[in-house]
Amino acid sequence: MDFLTTINEATPLLLQGLKITVMISVMSIVIGIVIGFFSCLLGLSKYRPLRAISGVYVWIVRGTPMIVQAFIVYFGFPQLIQMLTPDFRLSAFTAGLITLSLNAGAYLSEVFRGGIAAVDKGQAEAARSLGLNSSQTMIKVVLPQAIKIAIPSMVNQFIIIVKDTSILSVIGLADLVNKAKVYVGASYQFFATYILVAVYYLVIISALMLISKYVEKKFNYERKDKY
């Protein structure tokens, strides 16, 4: 069998996987941004317990491998909940989405925090000296600049999320890698199949990078000056 035949045969199956990979990536990026934003705000709070919540969350996610988190969410929690409601089930997709979103949230929380910390302190002081309160200062002055600073690291994080979906194939998520494994199991066309899978990932991630270049341009109100 030659390369082209493999491509022809494998493509329908791989496209199904691709759809799942794209769906779970996009959804966990969106959810992760929301979680990350709130976690970051908690982390900046003047109340210690709120800061602690954010700190512990980020600490746990960063300190454990995602594959273990996925096992806990997919196998562990259902077992716990089944003690109360015996027929509780969690699909691989839902479990994967929860794991990936929590992961994305923690890392994005750090990215946002870094962005905010990188905004010159004088910006907030100037806003406060005009009479703006702390939330007006945050929303009108600090965040717009922090987001611009954070875009490159955000994009980096998005790329990691897309790639990390592949880890979730171990809990049975029917993603690109999983479908490829199924096809390879029947056809033994390792080389052609996995090259094809790699190309698919390259396409998704290149698209992501193109979009981010566009967004970055929109935010580019200055080039090098500090003030």
Partner: protein, 250 residues
């Protein structure tokens, strides 16, 4: 004249390090006070205590009748009446010049958008930069940035202006244009507290010059008196050094 700023026995420490050691100072309406003194003597800290950018350790500050050292005072309301100009300009980097000026009056509901836009243009004319309304801060020279920063403060129609070394970050040829704007403000009757190394400005514009050293006010007098006949040895020494530096520069 009414008292605008009243500072009583002000102490400020940064985690054990005492920086202000008992400052008493009263500033009246329309007065222009220049603060001079060696680096690290606490000039910036004193100025920043007046609008509570620093929280004081001990003592009392009353601005326009509001006890700002009392934690029940709404400091944001008080700050609306105190403009502050920083050494590093601190223009909002993501906004055009016009939007820099409009932000606070609109957000704090002091003006509608169109009123604020009109006011912004008027202020830009006043500082000679009406053609820069749609530029971003990074497109301006240092002197232009500082003039915009002054306009931005004035948009809130404050009756006190604080300046922290407004010309120290500027190339020499740009200092004049900023001092000119400040001179005009003084002439118009603004109450001003200016930390500066510009002895010429202090001599020409100030009603009173305050010499600070090591967290204390060492000496205060009208400029003619302080510059020509300083009483305290530390003042004499500082003035001699500064004037000598000026001499060497020329």
């Amino acid at each position: 004249m009414r008292e605008k700023i009243n500072i009583k026995n002000l102490h400020k420490s940064f985690s054990k390090l005492p920086v202000l050691k008992g400052i008493d100072l009263t500033i009246h309406e329309g007065e222009v006070v220049c603060i001079i003194g060696p680096s690290g003597s606490g000039k910036s800290t004193l100025l920043r205590c007046v609008n509570k950018l620093e929280t004081v350790t001990d003592g009392e500050i009353i601005v326009d009748g509001c006890i700002i050292t009392d934690k029940h005072t709404n400091i944001n309301k008080v700050r609306e009446n105190i403009g502050m100009v920083f050494q590093s300009f601190n223009l909002f980097a993501h906004l055009t010049v016009k939007k820099n000026i409009m932000l606070a009056p609109v957000d704090l509901k002091k003006m509608t958008k169109s009123e604020a836009a009109e006011k912004a243009i008027e202020l830009l004319k006043q500082v000679g930069l009406e053609d820069k309304a749609d530029s971003y801060p990074h497109e301006l020279s240092g002197g232009q940035k500082q003039r915009v920063a002054i306009a931005r403060s004035l948009a809130m129609q404050p009756d006190i202006m604080l300046f922290d070394e407004p010309t120290s970050a500027l190339d020499p040829e740009m200092i004049g244009e900023v001092l000119q704007v400040m001179k005009q403000l003084a002439t118009d009757g603004m109450t001003m507290v200016v930390v500066t190394h510009e002895m010429g400005f202090a001599r020409d514009v100030a009603d009173r010059v305050i010499f600070m050293s090591d967290g204390m006010i060492v000496e205060e007098a009208p400029p003619a008196e302080l510059f020509s006949n300083p009483q305290e040895p530390r003042t004499k020494e500082f003035l001699a050094r500064v004037l000598q530096d000026l001499g060497l520069q020329v």
